[in-house]
């Protein structure tokens, strides 16, 4: 639809204003991280790196970063292996069964976080994995599996089903077909799924608050306490680092999809 004259200016102005509104929090959080006082505020006297220094030298914050990375890696490994296997299964079993299983396995993504948190808290206490590594890792893996299934399923839908039939008709077992034929053809999808699973775990806060206490103390958990108690300006430094990582990650993702699009067009 053509768009010109004043409606064009009005719509474009509104859209860019919304864009500014979306970027604004990120833009203010960065200078705040460089302020030299012990409060969370814009720098007034001068810039300083003291909050970054605290972040990267204090044992507590480093331990939380370590916990978060460890939990995210372990839960990603579980979610990606189980989820990929499941997506391949869903691709090949009869549609009604695939529909039922998919509906059940997408539940952790759809259910409100607080509901999942209460259910898992009670279960983890009952089976004795409350506030343990394995408990947090399993909880995050469960929450990430739906994202893996969706991403890998999308990847599989672009794959020619006859490849699998050819391998099977030549006598390959399902497992061998998976390893030699299917996985090599959907490796981009699996890599994307791994990124999603990692991010789900890395950002998770509500369920984590309920299934862990002090033995596993992830970065979002420490940030939550830092914000709620309103005392720790190191949170602003964490925020700045996370904003930088997010911006770089999105730029890389957009640039690579742009390049793929360009390669396809040429």
């Amino acid at each position: 639809m053509e768009l010109k004259g004043w409606p064009r200016y009005a719509i474009f102005t509104l859209a860019w204003t919304v864009a500014l509104f979306l970027l604004l929090p990120g833009l203010v959080a960065i200078p705040v991280a460089f302020n030299d006082s012990r409060f969370i505020a814009l720098p007034t006297n001068g810039l300083s790196l003291r909050h970054f220094e605290t972040l990267f030298t204090s044992g507590g914050w480093l331990a939380s970063i370590g916990d978060s990375v460890g939990v995210a890696l372990a839960s990603t490994a579980i979610a990606v292996s189980f989820g990929t296997l499941c997506a391949v299964g869903l691709w090949r079993v009869t549609p009604w069964l695939a529909g039922v299983v998919a509906a059940l396995l997408l539940a952790p993504m759809i259910f409100p976080p607080i509901v999942s948190a209460l259910a898992l808290y009670r279960a983890w206490v009952a089976i004795g994995i409350y506030d343990t590594w394995i408990g947090v890792v399993l909880a995050h893996a469960i929450l990430a599996i739906p994202y893996v299934i969706i991403t890998v399923t999308t990847s599989l839908s672009l794959l020619d089903g006859r490849l699998e039939q050819a391998a099977r008709s030549l006598g390959a077992s399902p497992l061998r077909t998976l390893v030699d034929i299917i996985i090599p053809n959907i490796r981009t999808g699996i890599a994307t799924a791994a990124v999603f699973a990692f991010i789900v775990s890395w950002d998770e806060i509500v369920v984590t608050m309920f299934v862990s206490s002090r033995a596993v103390y992830t970065l979002p958990r420490r940030m939550w306490d830092g914000i709620r108690e309103n005392v720790d300006p190191t949170v602003a430094a964490v925020a700045a680092v996370l904003i930088a990582i997010t911006a770089i990650g999105v730029l890389i993702a957009v640039a690579s999809s742009w390049r793929r699009g360009g390669a396809k067009a040429s």
Partner: protein, 275 residues
């Protein structure tokens, strides 16, 4: 064996059913006071207690306002994106994507820094003399709505933009060629074609908003309590598990019912695939 791949489903199915769906089932049983002497007393308490009704009403009101604003702003961004050159579109897309991927805690913290009494917005307004005392921008519904709209606008942009991009441009050309003005073409042709996506995006945003925990807890500062935070308070502070379980069931049923409507309107796969 007719289903050689069925075994592939088992690890994930075992994990999710055994360690997620069964615990959810136990939570539902708990809300009815267990198997031995089932009762509806927690649900009766929800219906009878004024303070809980106020929480439900606050949640509904905030989520409705948030949804309306987020969908309106999302439509404008999607509309602009669909009518831009590729470079401008990419830049606008980046402005939506970066905040979309940013941690919810970072965003809530940033809004707190901006909006609180000695925050950046109030300090700036005080310094310029526009106001004599700090405006109450946070620890109230205003702050919660700002934070939630900020979180949810991208979820509205993506499905609406996808529909606009897949539209057949000849529809609009046909309308124009038979003499319709641009405004008439928009109202009679463009808007109706994009309306299912708007409705679907709106429901999806509403569902997300209903379950919000982090943003209202931080920006509401204990004064605006939405359903999820109330459930957590019931468990952690007042130890009323039965009440928390029954409120969870109410939240879960509302979520699933709304998602079922979404799937009827647009197809839940497409919406979730975009997120």
């Amino acid at each position: 064996m007719r289903q050689p791949y069925i075994g592939f489903l088992l690890p994930a199915a075992f994990l999710v059913c055994g360690l997620f769906l069964i615990p959810i089932g136990q939570l539902i049983i708990l809300s009815f006071d267990g198997f031995t002497e089932p009762s509806l007393r927690w649900y009766a308490q929800i219906l009878e207690t004024g303070s809980i009704q106020r929480i439900l009403w606050t949640t509904f009101r905030i989520v409705t306002i948030t949804t309306l604003i987020a969908v309106l702003l999302g439509y404008a961004v999607a509309f602009a994106m669909a009518h831009m050159g590729p470079r401008q579109r990419l830049l606008l897309l980046l402005c939506v994507l970066v905040p979309f991927w940013l941690s919810v805690l970072v965003r809530a913290l940033a809004w707190l820094i901006l909006l609180r009494n000695n925050g950046i917005v109030n300090e700036t307004l005080l310094a310029t003399g526009l106001i004599g005392a700090p405006l109450p921008l946070v620890r109230n519904e205003f702050g919660v709505i700002i934070g939630m709209v900020h979180y949810l606008v991208p979820y509205a942009v993506f499905p609406i933009f996808a529909t606009m991009q897949n539209m057949d441009g000849r529809l609009m050309m046909a309308a124009r060629s038979v003499g319709a003005s641009p405004l008439r073409t928009f109202i009679d042709v463009y808007l109706p074609v994009t309306l299912p996506a708007v409705f679907g995006a709106g429901l999806l945003v509403f569902v997300f908003g209903l379950g919000f925990f982090v943003t209202p807890a931080i920006l509401g500062g204990g004064r605006v309590v939405m359903l999820s935070e109330y459930v957590s308070i019931s468990v952690l502070q007042t130890l009323r598990w039965g009440l928390a379980a029954s409120l969870s069931v109410v939240l879960l049923v509302a979520t699933l019912a709304l998602l079922w409507i979404v799937s009827k309107v647009v197809g839940v796969r497409r919406l979730l695939g975009n997120a």
